[in-house]
Each structure stands twice: as structure tokens, then as C-alpha cells.
Symmetry: C2
DNA sequence: GTCTATATTCAGATAGAC
DNA sequence: GTCTATCTGAATATAGAC
């Protein structure tokens, strides 16, 4: 019906606004008024659609976490050549974050400060599959002699670190290296290649 | 005089408490009441010593930033063998963070959310010296043929990423790899060696 | 310098008209 | 469903006694 579409439209406006504000300011920093302004409505309507601030936040938070990780896992689970897999995952992961630069800090922050928001469950479902597959890959390559006997856990952490951290530390990096916005962006584009080759150089036999 | 020491004692109690609370909860999340409780005094006294919450926060924040970076720079500026320098800096940097695990997220957070708090000036003084020296080192090694022609900027970012990020992402890592507190701690101890060798393997000729 | 009590401000949440 | 107006609670900040 007509009402249905209007409903969805308003709800969507709220979700869009909440996403933007929460991701920038976090749970504590965000104001319901900010979200209402951003959505072009008033506070009362926010509470009409989502009873409390926490409820609204949890919706955005889970959606956000769900957006980041599946792509990571999809590539890890594919069956392409191991080095290409590394190139793919690094490149596409950095690409995602380039277009959502505030997401990582947002997720890390809220996972540290609000461990209760049910993310734990979210991870525990898919985790074992991915990690297991990644370890299998590495063992296969080791026995083929294409790579050294590296620790899968450390390799995974190194990869994640080099992809994600620069965005989290953007202000520090820009000051230390004296970069402006465009130069930072260019550096991140370079990293799609640089990081992958850095890893491959380190582990290849 | 006796008064002087009493003053200093109370002020120090406040600073200790503020450090603890701010580092755990950030500027927004921290409550003056929390700090007062932690210090064993009442709110009014906080405002007597430091007029506002922001003033108190800025004090802690600058102190914190100042605590993290000098060690980084001291080693970079020393004149030991390049590979040993990498081993030293990785190891001692991870060591610092092991004993102050909340500092990185705190600093990164507040630099992203409150760029005004005068850190910019803090960095701009020392930055050029360190970066310049680090680039010199790399060029020297490249011309000696001991390492490949790598980008100093990317190398520096990679090093920082692999040292710092795991602590920021601790909840994620613990879930993904199914670690408990002790296992995480052990993994970080391992990383003092692992990360340095990972880097050296990648860049050595 | 340190406290208790209070003022002020602000954000989340609700009531009720339309 | 959407708005205006209002309540309630919490947190920063101040006044004033000791």
C-alpha cells in the first residue's frame, strides 16, 4: 500500500542518518537530536520507530559488522591460487574501507567498550570454518614448498593489521608523513599492491 | 613545605584516577563522578584542581601521547645495525603496549574525534627529524644492497600496524582465534620476535 | 583544601494533539 | 505517523560552610 512505502521511506531515512552519526561519533558521542536533524525529522519520531537509543544503535552496529566480515571470508573460502588469494583479499578489503573509512574505528571501539552488543554470537558461527580453511591452505602450501612454515594465526593478524590499521591511525599518519587528504587516499590505493607483495615476499620460499 | 606535598599528593591522586578512567572510557564515556570515586574524593575537588572536564582530559591526553611516541623515536634515531634496529623497535614497542593495552585505542579514538586537542603541534616538532633519519637509514641499506628498494613510508606504516593493531582489535582476535586472556598475552609476546622477522624476511636481499 | 548542597544544562524518553 | 511540548534523570559545574 501507499502507507507501506511511506513507512519504509521514513524508517530508511532514520537508519541512514543513524548509520552516519553513529559511525562518526560512536554510541556515547552521538545525540538523538543529531540523528533526527540528519534524517530531517524530530526526536519523538525516532522513539516511535525504535524505542530506545540502544536499540537503534544495536541495529546499526550489527548491520555494520555484518557488512565488513563476509567479504573477508568469501575470498578466504574460495579456491584460487594462494598468492592470488592474498592479493585479492588485501586489495578488496582495502577497497571496502576506502569507501567506509570510519567503519573500522567504529567497530573496534564499540567492541572494546560495549562487549555486550551480541557481536560475540555473530562471530562464533562463522569463525571456525574460515580459520580452519585458512590453516589448511597454509599447510598445503608449506608441504608443497611454496611458502615457509609460518604461523597461520600471526599471518592472519599481520594481514588484517596492515589493511585496517592505517585507516584507524589516519590522523597520526597524516601528521607523521605530512600528507593531505588526497595524498593519504593515494597511499591507500598503493597499499592494495604494496601490502600484498610485502606479505608474499616475506613468506615465499 | 608540608602543604606542598599534600597538594601534590591530591593532585597526583586525581591524575592517576583520571588517567585510568579516561583511558578506559574515553572523553565522552568518562564521568567526573567515576574519576572522583577512583581518586577517593568528591567531584567538587576535581573542579577545584582542574577547572573543567576538558582541561583535565587534555592534560591526560597530551601526557599519554607523549608517553607513547618518544620511545619509538629514540630507537629510530640510534645508530645500531638496521635489522637490529627493527628488532629493537618492534620488541620494545610491543612491550610498552603490553603494559598499557588501552592506550592505543584511547589515543587513536580521541585523535579522530577531537582533533582540536593540540596534539597536532606536539607531533609537528619532532616528526621531520625522525622520518628523515628513517629514510636515510633505508637508503643507506638499499645502496649497500642489504635490503630491497622499499618505500620508507609504507614500511613505517606496516611496522606500526603490526605492532599496535592487535591490541586495538583484541576482542575481534580473541573471538576469531578462540583465545583466552593468557593465550592472547602469549601471542603478543611471540609477536616481539615474529613481527620483526616477518619484516626482515620481506625486505632483505 | 575539602566537603555538602544546589544550580544549570542537556539528552533521552513520553504525553497528547492533530 | 508525525508533530510540539514536557517530564525525568543524569552529569558538569558552582556556592558557600568548615
Amino acid at each position: 500500500m501507499v502507507n507501506k512505502e511511506k513507512d519504509k521511506s521514513t524508517e530508511e531515512k532514520i537508519l541512514d542518518a543513524a548509520r552516519k552519526v553513529f559511525v562518526q561519533k560512536g554510541l556515547d558521542g552521538a545525540r538523538m537530536q543529531d540523528i533526527a536533524d540528519e534524517a530531517g525529522i524530530n526526536k519523538a519520531l525516532l522513539h516511535y520507530y525504535f524505542r530506545t537509543k540502544d536499540k537503534l544503535f544495536e541495529m546499526i552496529f550489527l548491520e555494520t559488522v555484518g557488512k565488513i566480515f563476509p567479504r573477508f571470508e568469501m575470498i578466504l573460502l574460495s579456491d584460487m591460487d594462494f598468492f592470488d588469494k592474498i592479493r585479492q583479499i588485501v586489495s578488496s578489503y582495502i577497497e571496502v574501507i576506502i569507501h567506509n573509512p570510519y567503519l573500522p574505528l567504529f567497530v573496534l571501539n564499540e567492541m572494546n567498550k560495549n562487549p555486550e552488543f551480541g557481536i560475540v554470537d555473530f562471530f562464533k558461527v562463522q569463525r571456525p570454518v574460515v580459520i580452519h580453511r585458512f590453516m589448511e591452505d597454509i599447510e598445503k602450501e608449506v608441504s608443497k614448498g611454496t611458502i615457509k612454515a609460518v604461523s597461520p594465526a600471526h599471518l592472519l593478524v599481520n594481514m588484517m593489521s596492515m589493511c585496517i590499521f592505517p585507516f584507524v591511525a589516519k590522523p597520526v599518519i597524516n601528521i607523521m608523513l605530512d600528507l593531505d587528504e588526497l595524498q593519504f587516499r593515494n597511499m591507500m590505493e598503493q597499499r592494495k599492491r604494496v601490502v600484498a607483495e610485502f606479505i608474499i615476499e616475506s613468506i615465499k620460499n
